[in-house]
């Protein structure tokens, strides 16, 4: 860990702190304050996007732990989210549990499902594992739609009633914003701490070379499954948030494309970096919003009849181009650009 000149740790607590200097504390408090005041000065539409980004960040932390830190490629994050969302809603609907009790249970259910889907990772890796999660991504929605359509609503999905807290119904985007933002902040802190703990270092060792990790005494089986468990835990939480944000769930929301987008966001943000997760989610989600604004401007130049689905088509194109560009020109993602900027800012006006 690089720290500014003159910052000296005198206690173990100081050494362990994430936020360590006075300016950092000021910035952190200011950022959290700005986040808390956000609903006051942005419109509902923007807040809707912010909520989507917050939910994406939660899901993406999971992908980051599994793919970024442990190196196990997953093409099934959306399926995990579906498991979380559906188990939450079904517990609320059929057992009458409140959202606040159902969500942790749904997260645990998703975690267990994640461990089951992660079992092939003990024998296979690389794209063979990607295949296994891909299979899960096809099988999970199928189970949801076909096994008990009377309970899950089949292809129509279910509507989700807004949860309430202390008599206040979380119906408005503002109230959902406070929930999502709080969860996103806490899950970011948790993810950051995982990454620098004994678990995180074991994950990184497995990513870099699992055979070497095993020889060094890391219980590869346990940590791989733990990684799948944590990833699904995050996915389950994100799924529950998604359900109350959308006020309804359907397998249409949890497609393979969604899973691919999570991986892409991770690439754009920077693999294995908590900052990267936030930056990647913000960048890709904002780009898709931007595209809907730019779309009509481009549509003018296209032959009539092709512009109607311009927004639908432009989104994937922009996503693909951005991901490909980052893969080729900045494989470490936005997080590395941010690091470079910080170094530049510290040293300015000197070059080193």
């Amino acid at each position: 860990m690089w720290r500014p000149c003159g910052v000296i740790d005198e206690t173990y607590e100081q050494d362990l702190a994430i936020v360590r200097t006075f300016p950092q504390w000021t910035l952190t408090v200011a950022a959290l304050g700005a986040l808390a005041l956000l609903p006051a000065y942005v419109s509902g539409v923007t807040l809707n996007t912010v909520n989507h980004i917050a939910i994406t960040i939660v899901a993406l932390h999971g992908v980051n732990i599994l793919t970024g830190l442990t190196g196990q490629i997953t093409l099934g994050q959306a399926a995990f989210m579906a498991i979380g969302a559906y188990s939450m809603e079904m517990m609320v609907r059929y057992w009458g549990l409140s959202f606040w009790i159902a969500t942790p249970i749904a997260m645990l259910i998703t975690g267990v499902a994640g461990v089951i889907i992660g079992l092939p990772s003990l024998r296979i890796k690389g794209f063979y594992l990607a295949m296994a999660t891909l299979a899960a991504q096809f099988i999970v929605p199928w189970i949801i739609v076909n096994v008990r359509p009377d309970l899950t609503g089949g292809t129509d999905g279910l509507t989700v009633s807004p949860p309430s807290i202390g008599g206040l119904q979380l119906t408005s985007q503002e109230s959902i914003f406070y929930l999502c933002a709080t969860v996103a902040v806490f899950s970011t802190v948790f993810a950051r701490n995982i990454a620098r703990s004994r678990y995180g270092r074991a994950f990184i060792a497995i990513r870099d070379n699992d055979i070497a990790a095993e020889i060094m005494g890391i219980a590869v089986v346990r940590y791989k499954l733990l990684s799948f468990f944590l990833c699904s835990l995050y996915a389950g939480l994100a799924g529950c948030l998604y359900a109350i944000w959308m006020r309804g769930i359907s397998v249409e929301h949890f497609t393979l494309h969604e899973s691919i987008w999570y991986l892409g966001m991770l690439i754009v943000g920077g693999m294995g970096s908590v900052v990267g997760v936030i930056l990647g989610a913000i960048m890709i989600r904002s780009l898709t919003i931007l595209v809907t604004y730019i779309g009509p401007w481009i549509a003018v130049f296209l032959p009539p009849g092709t512009g109607t689905v311009l927004e639908l088509g432009l989104g994937p194109i922009v996503f693909g181009v951005v991901v490909l560009a980052f893969l080729i020109y900045e494989p470490h993602g936005l997080a590395r650009i941010w690091e470079r900027f910080k170094a530049f800012y510290r040293l300015w006006p000197y070059s080193y």
Partner: protein
């Protein structure tokens, strides 16, 4: 009798899976890239073929070679723009690169063809559904099967009897050795992408003739070819056809005897089972890992 019908349907579908799988195997063998974009590539080329027939008004026998040439060009372009700068990168990077290309193609297709089902005009392929007693055989799939078999034979001959095929096999064995022997491996990569995309385009065109093409759905048909090649072994040409046939037959059997809905996920269940029991597949090479 019903069993025979399912078997025939399975073999014919399996031929298509094999054809798509062949495209993936060709690329994997020489470049060690797993091409997730194969579905989008084949749909794109098939849609171009449809557009040539319906919008431009070319006869099918002329549109076919043009669209195959387009496929070769598209494969070349994909390799040059997307994969060439990423030579020898980690596996996740390569997977993500093909997924990004898939996304770009998907978006482009949506722009031009939107979400409707697009099919070839009736009777583009001569002949009609064949009835053999109680068994009926869709002639489009029969053509597809014949073409698939021809493709396997041609690709096999190409790989094992020609100079270029020999170079490709050396490149598949080891990039470093191939370079040391004076083989221009980037040219080999370009060749294999062209070849694979053409094979995929053929599969797409036959699918388009029988089932119609839909931008959001047809690419995912190619994902059903993944179990086929994993089953047969990722780097085996024979494995692709045998895996394709097996998956096709099992899918149709599941559709007939259990439930048509179960057929949708049968390939993926096979995939999971193969991955758990014998990840390298029937004819695949088992990798021995060293640190």
């Amino acid at each position: 009798m019903l069993f025979l019908q399912y078997l025939v349907a399975g073999v014919l579908t399996g031929g298509l899976y094999g054809l798509i799988g062949l495209g993936i195997v060709i690329i994997y063998k020489s470049t060690k890239v797993f091409n997730f974009a194969v579905g989008a590539l084949m749909t794109f080329c098939a849609l171009v073929c449809v557009a040539l027939v319906t919008n431009v008004g070319l006869p099918f026998w002329l549109a076919l070679p043009i669209s195959l040439a387009f496929a070769a060009f598209l494969g070349l372009l994909t390799e040059r723009v997307g994969l060439r700068p990423l030579l020898a990168q980690p596996i996740l990077t390569l997977i993500m690169a093909t997924l990004a290309i898939e996304s770009i193609l998907y978006g482009t297709m949506l722009l031009f063809w939107e979400g409707y089902t697009i099919s070839f005009p009736q009777g583009v392929l001569p002949g009609q559904t064949i009835f053999l007693g109680p068994i009926f055989i869709p002639h489009e799939f029969l053509y597809a099967f014949i073409v698939a078999t021809a493709c396997f034979v041609l690709v096999g001959v190409f790989f094992f009897k020609t100079q270029m095929g020999l170079r490709m096999r050396v490149t598949a064995e080891s990039h470093v050795v191939a370079m040391a022997l004076g083989i221009n491996i980037t040219r080999i990569f370009a060749m294999s992408w062209m070849l694979a995309t053409v094979v995929g385009a053929l599969a797409g065109i036959f699918i388009g003739n029988r089932l119609g093409l839909q931008v959001a759905i047809t690419p995912s048909l190619a994902f059903k070819a993944l179990p086929a090649i994993i089953f047969g072994g990722l780097d085996s040409l024979a494995g692709a056809i045998i895996g394709g046939l097996t998956v096709g037959i099992l899918e149709k059997m599941a559709a007939g005897y259990i439930d048509p809905k179960v057929a949708e996920i049968t390939p993926y269940i096979i995939l999971l089972l193969v991955l758990l029991i014998r990840p390298q597949g029937l004819f695949g090479e088992e990798r021995i890992e060293r640190i």
